[in-house]
Symmetry: C2
Subunit: 550 residues, 2 copies
C-alpha cells in the first residue's frame, strides 16, 4: 500500500535554503588574525548562489563534476560546502596534511576539474600542478602569492572576482537524493587512499541526527567553533548541521595553534567546540601559561582518537567545560557513537560511561563479529570486530578498493556492513569500548587476545622499557601471542618466567604468551607507531631468538 | 555520480530496535487510576514482537493490511504503534470522538481487517459492528464489558491472551521506506473524512526533526506526558520520537480530566507535555482550585488551535512552565511550525514571536498564495493562503478526494504543494501568523479582506452583540464584504453609518463594507460556529434586508 505523502528529496540545497531564510541572521565569523570577517547566513547564502553561478557559467561545471577544495575552515569554504553539492557537482575536500604525492594521487583518482585553494596554501598546491591530469581551473581564495602559479596549465581565477556581480539566487536542481554530494579520501596506513562518496541523503540524515540530543544537540542559541578541519570528514558534519539548526559559526581559518584559539574563544565566546584530543591538550597547556576567559564554552566534542581521561577531567575541573567523547571514521560520515551517559546518574556513576566510545545514535546499527565470524553478545566482555550499518555509512569505496592489498571483503561484510577494523566490546546498555585494531589481535582457539592489553600490562613491569605482542601461527590454537620485550638499560636477571608470572595475575590464564623474545628496540613506523609487520616478518624468517615456555 | 553509501531504508522497525536496545531502561508508565502500569522500553519492545507474531500467525495479517486501533494513550497502544507498521501492515488510528456513523464510514473506507479496542470503549464500538464490511477480528485490550460483543460477526480476542507465550523477537522485514506505515482521517467540516497515509519515511524524518531543538528537542533525561491523543495525528509524533531519543513516557490513558492530570503530574513528575489549549485551560483552573506540585513540568507544547496569550502567561507566571505554541494538521504529520523565538532576545522582545504560529523547521517549506495565484512576499503584511511542501506533508488523499464536494485542486497545487486552507502572513524572519480560513476571506480587487478581523472589530462596538461578515459577489471588485449585525437587546438608534465610522479607524479604508444587514441572530453549526453558508444563501435568495452605503 502506498503512502499519500509528498515525494521530496533530501538535498543539501534544502539545508541551505532553510538556513538562509529561517536562520537568516545567524552569523559566520572567520578569524583572520586582524579584524574578523563577519557574514550572516543570509549573506552566505547569497554568495553561495553567486559561487554556483560562477562555477556553472564561467568554469563550465556540470552535474557530477568534482570540484575540490584545499582550504582552511572559513566562510568561503562554507560557501563551497553548499554551492558545489547544491548545484549537483561533487565537493571533494582535500586533506592539506597529506604528503604531496598522495594529494596528487587523490586529485587524479577523483578526476577533479576545479580546485578552490586558499592563497596561503599555494606553496602546497603549486608543486603538484605538473602531475595533475584533470584539473582545468584553479580558484584562489583570499590573499596569497599567486606568482607561484605563473605558467600553470589550469586557468587561474580569483574567488571574489568570480563572484562579483553575479545573481544572488540560483534555481537549485531537484536531484536524486542518492546522488553524490561530497567525497573524502581516507589516508589508510596500508595501500592507496580510498575514496568515500557521501550522498545528499547521507549528509541530510547525518545532520538531522547531529542536531538531536543523542548526538550534539545543537541549537540556534549556541555558537560553534569547529576546530576539526573541513577537509576531514566534512568537519564532523557541523557546517551543514549549522545551517539546519541556525547555530552561529566561529571559523578558525589557519589559526589552529593554542594561543590564537584561546584568543578567539575569549573574543567571540563560542559555547560549543569540536576537535581532536591534541588540540585540547595544547589549549589546556596554553590556558595554564596564559590564562584567558574561556567561560563561554559549555561543552566540547572530542573525537578522532580516544581522549585521555585526565584531559577530560582537567577541562571539567579547571574550566567547567563538559567534554563528550565521540567515535567515528571517514567511512561513517563520521557519527558512529557518542559517549553521553545514561540519564539519571551521579557524576561518579556517569564517569565509566563517559570514557567509553559511547552509544550508537538512531540509524547506526552495530554488531561485534568474533574471530570465527560469529556475532558476539553485548555483554561487556565478549570482544569482536565492530561492524556498522546505516544510511550514512559507506558500503563501498569510490572506484572499487584502493589498492592491490585491499579486497572488498576486507572492508565490507557479504551483507553490506562496514568492517571498521576496530575490535572492542559493547555493554548490555549499548556502550562501545574499542580496545584494539583488528590487525593487532590474536585469534586463539575461537577467542581474541588483545595485544595492546598484553603490551600495556608488560610495560607495567619495572624492568620493561617496551613490549610488543604479535600473533604467530600455532598448530593447535590457530594463532598465539609472541611477546617481544625491550628491557630497561642496566636491567639484568629478569627472566621470561618472571614476566609471565607478572602477567598471570593481570590477564586470563589462556591469554598468557608461551613465546618470548628479547629485542633491542621495537621497530617503529615513520609516525612512531609500533611496526608489527616487521616483527612478524622477523619471526617468520627465524631472525628472533625465541624461547618457548611450557 | 553515485555515492558509496549503504542503502538503508528509514523504517519504523529501526526506531523500535534502537529504543529497545540503546534506551532499554527508559520507562513507559500508564496511568490506571490505581497502581500505574510500568514497563521498560526493552519490555515494550518484546511485547511488540509478540503482538506482531500474534497478528501474523493468529489473525492472518499480512503486508499492507489495515489494523485499526480504537484506544486511549497507553502502553498497549504504543506496542501497536510499533508492531503494526514494523511488520509491514498499516496502523489506522480511529478517532473515538467522531460521530459513530463517521467512524463506521472510515473503517469501511480504509477496509480495516482488525480492530484493537480498549475494553472501556466497547460501548462505542459494539453498535457499529453490524455496519462494518471488512473487519474480521476484534482484539480487546484491558478490562471491559465483552458481553457487548456477544453475537458479533468478527472473531473476538483478548490482547493479553494473544501475546501470551509468543516469541519476544521478530524478524522485521526490510520494507520500502515509502510504503504505508500508518493512516489517519481528517474530520473535515465539509464532505466525507479524508484519509492521510503516512509512510515509514515520513514518520522517520518527522521524528528526527521533532527531536531537534528547532522543534521539541526531546532528550532521554526528560519524561513526556502526551495528552494529545494517539488517535489524533500520531500524538504529534511523540510515541515514535520517544523510542528514537529515549525520553520516558507517561501515558494518561482515559484520565484526561483536569483532576487526574494534575494528580499524575504530581506523582510521576513529567518534564514535558503536549496538548490542545482546552486541556491546559482546564488544568490551570484545577490547579487554582486544588493546588498540586507540578514543578517538574518545564515546558509544554500547545497545538491544535491557537493558544490564548493569557493562558500562556498564566502558566509561565504562576507555574514557571514555558509554553511553546506549534501549528500543524493531520496532513502535515503534524509538525508544520513551532513558535520558538529568535535567539538572544529578552522575554519582552521574544513575546511577539511566541504568540505567532511559529517558524518552519527544516524540511517544511512554505509559501503564501494570494487571491490571484501570485506568491506573496514574507513581509509580515501580505496575506496569502499558506501552502506547504515537505516529505512528511500529504500530496494526496487515500483513495482520492473524500467526497463529491472536494476536487483535488482544492487541496493540492498543480506542483504538488498542500493547500492548507489557512490564510496568514509571514514575517521576513519566517514567523507565520494565521488569521483566517481561506473560505472565510473576501477576495476584493486582488487583495484579501479578513472577515474575522472585521467581525472582531464590529463586536468591539458597545451596541453590537454579534457580527458575521461574508463575501458576496461584486461586479467591479469580484467580491466585497457583507456585514450582518445582531444588536444588543434594547439597543436603538445605532445606524450603519455609525458602525462604518467605528470601523474606519480600525481597518484599511478599502476594506470597509458597503453592504449591511441587521439580523436576529447569526446562524450556527451544530458545534456553535458561525454558519456562513446559510448567510450566503440567504443573501443570494434575497432573504436579507440589505442596505447599500455609498
Amino acid at each position: 500500500m502506498l503512502s499519500t505523502m509528498q515525494d521530496v528529496p533530501l538535498l543539501v540545497s534544502r539545508i541551505l535554503r532553510h538556513g538562509m531564510t529561517i536562520h537568516a541572521k545567524s552569523r559566520v565569523v572567520t578569524w583572520t588574525g586582524a579584524e574578523p570577517q563577519r557574514r550572516t547566513y543570509a549573506e552566505t547564502g547569497e554568495r553561495t548562489a553567486q559561487l554556483a553561478a560562477a562555477l556553472r557559467d564561467e568554469l563550465g561545471v556540470t552535474e557530477g563534476d568534482r570540484v575540490a577544495t584545499l582550504m582552511w575552515n572559513n566562510g568561503e569554504h562554507l560557501e563551497a560546502y553548499f554551492a558545489i553539492p547544491s548545484m549537483g557537482a561533487v565537493l571533494h575536500t582535500l586533506n592539506l596534511r597529506l604528503p604531496p604525492e598522495q594529494l596528487a594521487w587523490i586529485i587524479n583518482h577523483a578526476e577533479d576539474k576545479v580546485i578552490l585553494v586558499n592563497g596561503s596554501l599555494l606553496p602546497l598546491l603549486a608543486p603538484l600542478l605538473p602531475g595533475l591530469k584533470t584539473v582545468r581551473h584553479i580558484v584562489v581564495v583570499g590573499p596569497g602569492d599567486t606568482s607561484l602559479l605563473d605558467g600553470a596549465e589550469p586557468a587561474v581565477h580569483s574567488y571574489e572576482d568570480l563572484l562579483q556581480g553575479r545573481p544572488t539566487d540560483y534555481d537549485w536542481p531537484e536531484l536524486d537524493e542518492r546522488s553524490a554530494a561530497a567525497m573524502c579520501y581516507t589516508s589508510g596506513t596500508t595501500g592507496d587512499p580510498k575514496g568515500v562518496v557521501y550522498s545528499h541523503r547521507s549528509i541530510f540524515l547525518h545532520c538531522l541526527q547531529v542536531n538531536t540530543a543523542e548526538s550534539m544537540g545543537l541549537t540556534d542559541e549556541d555558537t560553534c567553533l569547529p576546530v576539526v578541519p573541513m577537509f576531514h570528514v566534512n568537519a564532523w558534519g557541523l557546517p551543514h548541521s549549522a545551517f539546519m539548526c541556525g547555530i552561529n559559526l566561529l571559523m578558525p581559518d589557519r589559526f589552529l595553534q593554542p594561543a590564537p584559539l584561546a584568543e578567539m574563544i575569549e573574543a567571540e565566546r563560542p559555547t560549543y567546540a569540536a576537535a581532536v584530543p591534541t588540540i585540547w591538550q595544547g589549549l589546556l597547556a596554553e590556558l595554564e601559561a596564559n590564562p584567558r576567559d574561556v567561560s563561554s564554552l559549555q561543552s566540547v566534542t572530542i573525537g578522532g582518537s580516544a581522549c585521555p581521561p585526565a584531559l577530560m577531567k582537567a577541562f571539567e575541573e579547571r574550566h567547567g567545560i563538559k567534554v563528550v567523547q565521540a567515535w567515528g571514521m571517514t567511512e561513517t560520515s563520521p557519527l558512529g557513537s557518542v559517549a553521553h551517559p545514561p540519564s539519571g546518574l551521579t557524576p561518579d556513576e556517569a564517569w565509566p560511561y563517559r570514557i567509553t566510545q559511547g552509544r550508537f545514535p538512531c540509524l547506526v546499527e552495530a554488531r561485534l563479529i568474533g574471530p570465527d565470524g560469529d556475532v558476539k553478545p553485548w555483554d561487556g566482555t565478549s570482544a569482536g570486530e565492530l561492524e556498522v550499518r546505516g544510511p550514512w555509512i559507506a558500503g563501498a569505496y569510490y572506484g572499487g578498493p584502493g589498492g592491490a592489498e585491499l579486497r572488498p571483503e576486507d572492508k565490507f561484510s557479504p551483507d553490506g556492513w562496514l568492517r571498521t577494523g576496530d575490535v572492542g566490546v559493547i555493554t548490555p546498555d549499548g556502550y562501545l569500548t574499542l580496545t584494539d585494531r583488528a590487525k593487532d589481535v590474536i585469534k586463539s582457539g575461537g577467542e581474541w587476545i588483545s595485544s595492546v592489553e598484553l603490551e600495556n600490562q608488560l610495560m607495567g613491569h619495572p624492568a620493561v622499557a617496551e613490549a610488543a605482542v604479535v600473533a604467530v601461527p600455532d598448530e593447535k590454537w590457530g594463532e598465539r601471542p609472541l611477546a617481544t620485550v625491550v628491557l630497561k638499560e642496566g636491567t639484568t636477571g629478569v627472566g621470561y618466567q618472571e614476566l609471565r608470572e607478572f602477567l598471570s595475575g593481570r590477564v586470563a590464564r589462556w591469554q598468557l604468551p608461551e613465546r618470548w623474545a628479547l629485542i633491542e628496540s621495537v621497530p617503529k613506523t615513520s609516525v612512531g607507531k609500533f611496526d608489527k609487520k616487521v616483527l612478524r616478518r622477523q619471526y617468520a624468517e627465524g631472525a628472533l631468538d625465541v624461547t618457548l615456555l611450557d
